[in-house]
Subunit: 358 residues, 2 copies
C-alpha cells in the first residue's frame, strides 16, 4: 500500500476545484464580463417567449418600448444595492428614483407616469434609515412630477441581504416612434454629455473608504428628464443613454455598438470637475469609467448640435453640458479618444479593475 | 469615590440598549407588524407625491390602476428572496413570474402585457443555478403568453445578498372600471378559493429543514390568470386577492378590512391537502397561515357563486376550488371562522410565529 499516493495529498484542494462556473464581482459594473453575462446567459433565456427583438432586452437598451393602440408604453427597471446607503449628495432612495426616471428619460419619456418600489430590508436595519430613504424617494418623485403607485416590502433575516435592496420599475408613454434608442446614432451625429462625469462614483468611493480630502465631492445623482425635454425641443436628438455603471466609457461603447458606428471622442472636451479629477487620481480611478447618476449622453444631428447644447446649458442641471465627439463611419463599435497627446481606443473596464459603484 | 456606582455595572449593556427602533423578521411575512410598517412608515412617505388614493399604494392592493386615455394601466411589483432557491414544484424564477402574473390577475388583468426582471446575484453563486432560474422565468412567461421585456442584472460582492434576489414588475391593461379591487366585497358576496391552501409554504419549509417525510408535497406555484378569466366569464366577480405571505388568513382579513365588511368563514370547507395537513401539523404550522403561490381568493355575487365555482373547477388548476364563506354586515374587518366545534376570530400571524416563507 505504500506505493499508493496519499489521497489526502493528491486530491484537489478546495481552492483548486474547478466546479461549475461561478459568478464573480468581475461581472459587476458595466464591464465586458457583464456584457457577456447579459448577452450569453440572461437575454437568451428570458427572451424565450420571443417577440422582444429590438424592444428592450435583446437590444440591451435602458428599457423596453411596447406598442399599444395609442402611444407606446415604455417600461424600465433597476435594482440598487449601495454601500454606504447614504452618501454626500444622496442616498439609495434618490439613486433608485433618479435612476429609473433617467432610464425612462433616456428612452424619450420626459413625463414619467409612475414608479414602483420593491424594498428588501435586512432585519436589524434601523427604522430611521428606512424612513430617510423612503422620504428621499417620495420627495424626489414629487419633484419630478411622478408618483410611486405600488410597492412590495419584505423584511428578511440578517444576512439574506446587506442593509436594504431597492428595486424601482418605471412606466411612461411616448408617441409612436418617438422613443429614443441607444441604437440611433448615424455617422456625423455629435455626442453631447449633459455635465461633468464621475462625481457619483468618486463621491461614493471616497465616502466608503473614509477619505477626508474628498468630502467636498458630492454625487451628481439627479433626475434628467427635463434636460431631455429641453434638448428635443431645441433640435433632433437621435440617441440617448445614461452613463451609470461603467461610466462614460461604457455608455459610449454601448452607443457605438448598438448603432453600428464608431465614435471619435475629444478627451479634452469631456467635463470633469477639478476635485473629482484630483480625488480620482489619488484613488486610482478613471473618471471616464466610474458611474454618473445625473448625466445623459445624447446623439444629436450635426446641424442642431450647438442649439441643443445651448438649450441644455440653459437648465441649471445642464449648465456644464459639452459636445465631446462625433459618430463616424469607421472602427465600428469602438471609441477612439484623442487625449491631446495621441489617440487610443477607449476600453471598457474589465474584471475587478472597477470598484463596485452602482 | 466608593459611593459612586461602577459605571461598568450600571451602564446599559448592548443587549439592553434601546436605540433607534430596528426592523425585525416579525415584520416579515403577512403579519400585523408588516401591516403597521406599511401603513405607518412606507405608504405615507412614498405617497408624498399625492394622487394615489384608491389606486394601489394607499389601498395596499396587489397593484395600482392608472387611468389612461383608453384602457387603464395596471402596474405591480414583487421582490423575492427564497431559501432554498429551488424547491419541490418550482424555484425563485417560477415564483417571481407566477407571483407577478398573479398580482396582475388579482387586479383583473388576464392578459399580462409584459414583465421586467431585476436580478441581484451574489458573487460566488454557481452560474448553472442562475441559468436554471432564468430558464424557469422564460418558460413560464411563454406559458402564460407574456414577455419579459427589460431587465437589470447586478452581481454584488459575497454577503451583499444571500444567493439571488429577483424583482419582477408587471404591466397590463384592463378596460376602464374593470379592474378587480381588494376592496370590492359587499355583504352577501360569497368567497371562493381556487384550490387547496398551504402547499407552497409547507413544501418550502419541509425542503429547507430537510424533513424527508414531506418530500411528496410540492409547492402550488403556478399562474392563475386563466382562472380569473374563467371566473369572470361565468359570473360577477367583485373582489380578488392572492393569498401569498400570511396565507389565506391574511388574504381574508385584507379583503374584509379593505371592503369594510366582515367575513364568516366555514373552516371545514377550506380545502387542505392531506399530506400538507399532516406535515403542517408536525412542523407546527397552520395551513391557513402559510403562503400559497398559485391560489386566488375571489369575492363573487351570491347568485353567481355556484356557476363561478363550477367554471373555475372546469380548469385543471382550479379543480379543487371551493366556496368557503361569505361577506357579512357585521364584525367589520374581522373574519369569524366556524371550526365545526365552535366559532373564533381568525387572527393574522403576528411576530415571529410565522417562519419566513415568502
Amino acid at each position: 500500500m505504500s506505493g499508493d499516493a496519499d489521497p489526502q495529498s493528491t486530491a484537489s484542494r478546495p481552492d483548486d476545484q474547478t466546479g461549475p462556473e461561478t459568478l464573480t464581482t468581475a461581472h459587476g459594473a458595466g464591464t465586458a464580463e457583464m456584457r457577456d453575462l447579459l448577452t450569453e446567459t440572461v437575454v437568451p433565456r428570458l427572451a424565450l417567449a420571443g417577440g422582444t427583438d429590438g424592444l428592450g432586452l435583446t437590444a440591451l437598451d435602458d428599457g423596453a418600448v411596447l406598442p399599444t393602440d395609442g402611444d407606446s408604453l415604455v417600461v424600465t427597471t433597476d435594482s440598487h444595492v449601495v454601500d454606504p446607503p447614504e452618501f454626500p449628495g444622496g442616498d439609495i432612495g434618490t439613486l433608485a428614483v433618479a435612476g429609473t426616471v433617467n432610464d425612462l428619460a433616456a428612452m424619450g419619456v420626459t413625463e414619467p407616469l409612475a414608479l414602483t418600489c420593491g424594498l428588501v430590508v435586512e432585519a436589524g436595519t434601523p427604522e430611521p434609515l428606512i424612513e430617510r430613504v423612503l422620504d428621499s424617494m417620495g420627495r424626489l418623485a414629487e419633484t419630478v412630477g411622478t408618483r410611486i403607485v405600488t410597492g412590495d416590502t419584505k423584511v428578511v433575516p440578517a444576512g439574506d441581504v446587506d442593509g436594504v435592496v431597492v428595486n424601482t420599475a418605471g412606466v411612461g408613454f411616448v408617441p409612436p416612434g418617438a422613443h429614443l434608442p441607444t441604437a440611433g446614432l448615424s455617422p456625423g451625429d455629435r455626442l453631447l454629455v449633459t455635465g461633468p462625469v464621475g462625481d457619483h462614483g468618486v463621491a461614493l468611493l471616497a465616502e466608503r473608504e473614509g477619505f477626508e480630502f474628498a468630502t467636498d465631492i458630492e454625487s451628481d445623482v439627479a433626475p434628467v428628464d427635463d434636460l431631455v425635454a429641453a434638448a428635443r425641443e431645441a433640435g433632433q436628438v437621435t440617441a440617448a443613454t445614461d452613463p451609470t455603471r461603467g461610466g462614460l466609457a461604457t455608455a459610449l461603447i454601448e452607443l457605438a455598438t448598438a448603432s453600428e458606428v464608431g465614435i471619435d471622442l475629444d478627451g479634452r472636451a469631456v467635463p470633469v470637475a477639478d476635485p473629482t479629477e484630483s480625488a480620482a487620481d489619488v484613488l486610482g480611478l478613471d473618471p471616464l469609467r466610474v458611474a454618473c447618476e445625473g448625466r445623459l449622453v445624447l446623439g444629436v444631428a450635426p446641424e442642431d448640435a450647438a442649439a441643443v447644447r445651448d438649450a441644455v446649458r440653459a437648465r441649471s442641471a445642464g449648465d456644464e453640458a459639452a459636445l465631446i465627439g462625433r459618430a463616424v463611419d469607421d472602427h465600428t463599435g469602438r471609441v477612439v479618444v484623442d487625449t491631446g497627446i495621441g489617440e487610443r481606443y477607449l476600453t471598457e473596464a474589465s474584471g475587478e479593475q472597477l470598484p463596485r459603484i452602482c
